[in-house]
Symmetry: C3
Subunit: 347 residues, 3 copies
């Protein structure tokens, strides 16, 4: 890792320096793990006590944070979390990947169009008629089917599987273990059991999409399953056939979206939530984790619960369910008092 002075780092992220500008640091660390040659940051109030005790050589903090000790070097800025990203990048060398060109062990069909500076790693496979954009990187062992289109500067990580005819845009990142273009889940009752409904569509991933590890995105029954530009998927997300995810969505780990469901722009879906088939979620809606979306949701609001309801209603419902034992006692008491009264009056 390189050595940088605190003064250089303050300049790098536009922070105001409080303390020795010449102190040298060699890398980023958390407040609790940092030593005198590490730089750290305080982004969340829950870690204020760690700030007091930290051994870090310097700490990025928000403008209003009090300096707990004279010897602590502080870099003050608007958003320490965001500023810290540029500092982390200054220290980190990018992870090594395959060199431009095709690794001799890869199996790339002679009909593949390979853009300038594109790289195909060891033991990767690229099927007939596929087009790989300029400076795209196909890591070791990735399996790219026939007729696949991959845009410029897109990174397909080790072991990813793209079925035939899938299309991935430019500047996308697809992490390992992810499968794009498997058959959608469609079966009809037949005389001898379930009959497969042909899955003849494809998957279109638009530009600037990132897909985490271990996701599965099924091809459409016909027509595409689609991920809108700038959307980011966490790990182990499942998208059924003909799902249409809008632009700039955030979909957190282990979410499952059933067939033909649609989301607008800027939708956020928390981890482990399920979305039923054919529902629509409006732009800007935010669905909390572990929810179940069984009907259309209007945009611009926060939802929670299963079935998902406006957050306020769900919090009220949950609070209510905790009050039942006490309510039961009150009703029992009422019944007793009322019986006493009735008996007295009947005498």
């Amino acid at each position: 890792m390189p050595e940088l002075t605190v003064g250089e780092l303050a300049a790098l992220c536009g922070a105001e320096l409080e303390g020795d500008a010449d102190r040298v640091v060699t890398g980023p660390a958390t407040l609790s793990a940092a030593g005198p040659r590490d730089i750290s940051f305080l982004s969340h109030p829950r870690y204020v006590r760690q700030l007091e005790r930290t051994a870090a050589g310097a700490v990025l903090v928000a403008r209003e944070v009090a300096r707990p000790r004279e010897d602590l070097v502080l870099l003050r800025c608007e958003d320490p979390g965001s500023a810290f990203s540029s500092i982390v990048s200054a220290f980190a060398a990018p992870l090594p990947g395959p060199e431009p060109g095709v690794h001799p062990s890869a199996v790339v069909d002679s009909t593949v169009e390979l853009g300038e500076g594109a790289a195909v790693g060891a033991l990767a496979v690229v099927g007939p008629g596929s087009r790989i954009g300029a400076r795209a990187v196909i890591h070791a062992g990735a399996l790219v089917g026939a007729g696949v289109v991959i845009g410029e500067e897109t990174e397909i990580h080790a072991g990813v599987v793209l079925y035939a005819k899938v299309s991935v845009g430019s500047r996308c990142i697809v992490h390992s273990g992810t499968v794009i273009g498997g058959d959608g889940y469609g079966f009809e009752p037949g005389t001898a059991g379930w009959v497969k409904v042909p899955q003849c569509g494809t998957v279109v991933v638009e530009d600037d999409v990132e897909i985490g590890s271990g996701c599965t995105i099924d091809r459409g029954r016909f027509g595409p399953t689609r991920l809108g530009r700038g959307t980011k998927l966490d790990n182990q997300v499942h998208l059924g056939h003909n799902v249409e995810i809008g632009e700039r969505n955030l979909i957190v780990a282990q979410v499952a979206v059933a067939g033909s469901a649609r989301t607008g722009e800027g939708v956020v879906i928390g981890g482990q939530t399920g979305v039923a088939g054919h529902v629509e979620i409006g732009s800007g809606a935010r669905v909390a984790g572990q929810s179940g979306v069984y009907g259309d949701l209007e945009g611009g609001r926060d939802y929670q619960g299963s079935p998902a309801q406006p957050q306020k209603d769900e919090l009220r419902r949950k609070a209510g369910s905790r009050k039942v034992p006490a309510l039961l006692a009150r009703v029992r008491e009422l019944e007793k008092r009322l019986s006493d009264l009735e008996e007295r009056l009947s005498r």
Copy 2:
């Protein structure tokens, strides 16, 4: 894509034609996306308004649907969804896969028995003593261990992992990212920590089973984990060791079934549901998504909730929990009125 007339398509799926039989269409599309050279279908009443506005060249509808416009060409039949499948297939060329024979880059042990017309794709591995049935297809990069048996016409997609000694029947489809035969999750407390319980069984997948992408099916502790004939798994399903899934089950995405649980025939389990170890689910039971099955379930009924209960009871419980805030207000009112009465009578 081929060009077909509406008359040809009506004949293909046994539909009654209303409109111009000579109109040419070139492919299937949804009602909202279709243009004049596309054929579409209406299967769900929620899309009736899309039927009114569609630009589709022709639309498959149920017999009783009203014709909204004179210029709309309709194909009337019993089940438009099912009929549409044969139309989709008429347009779709099957996705390309490996040619019969062994790709020169594949590593297939000399002891492997390869059936007539079977195909092993680029960079696939097949271990010693395995048997691949006639016309089976092992796609690129699939990893088949030693002593594995694969039936006729079964398709093992790119990157699938079959551990040693796993058996997959005939006419099965296993999608990418799926792992069959990993160790079951078994540990016993020991003096220095958890001690591994040996997992010495295997997995038996019977005929006509389809397994989605990213599933994990563990080998039995001893004896097999079993998937019954004609069962269909969606993506990211987890089956623990010695699970026995009956015939013709439908198990939707992200379901987890813990060790030694068993299901009868024709069981349906909705997405994201969990099934505890050792429970039995009777034939024909249908468990809603996001449920938790913690005890045996009698066959032939619908269940929901966590713990899963007969659907009616769970819906009642859920409705009840939403009524608590109102109930609280009524109890408060009762207490006040009763206190007033008591006070009046004590004077």
Copy 3:
């Protein structure tokens, strides 16, 4: 499979024999599946009736179990489940894997340090600067990035992906489909959409850890994501960036742990549970399946529900929510009786 006498097996696991010591058995089986040449065991009272009817040649039982039939050969011991493990192992040959050395089809960089007796299987990839410990096994098609460290006797199964710089300890087992070291899920709002927060840390898996199939463990934003010594993960577990799992944890299938969450020693997390970012779970805490941990949990106690609460409170809450319909009827009755009384008194 070898043939062993019941007497030999009783000696092997220290059991007291009741019946013919010379009877020969050839393998383990469940009570219901076992024939006269199989040995079985009774570990769970729910299977007592299967003991009565079993055709097994011999059965391991606890000391206090009654002998249901004269012809049944019993092996009595303290813990039949644990004793049975040694019997299963006596019959089971280990699954075949790659031979020591590097398979000619593997792509192992010339700078890789390979320990004595280590094995790298067919079509596996090991990147520059990686170190593989003595007797470690890298199965077919595993993809090991640059600068990875793998300890002695560790087994990396077929198709596993280890991103660059990941470290796995000694005597670990990592099952197929698992991805270690993908980018954490971090994005900040920018003017044109979400901006990627660089993920520059790594993953450290300590000694004696087992990780099931299809897990995804993200690298830290900076600093490591960590799995403590002796921890065991089931299938399809997701761990976010900078998660720190303590020693000897058991984390069951489909659990998701969000970024920077931490667990103490000996924590148990049931299947399908979600843990929110930044929370801490104390040593010895046990969280039931399908729970949601949204705040810190004190160690040494049992939790359940979403949000997770002490188990007793959650069971009380759940029981309460089932009583609401009856409570509603009681309140309605109270209102009627009180109205009657009020009316009578107002006359």
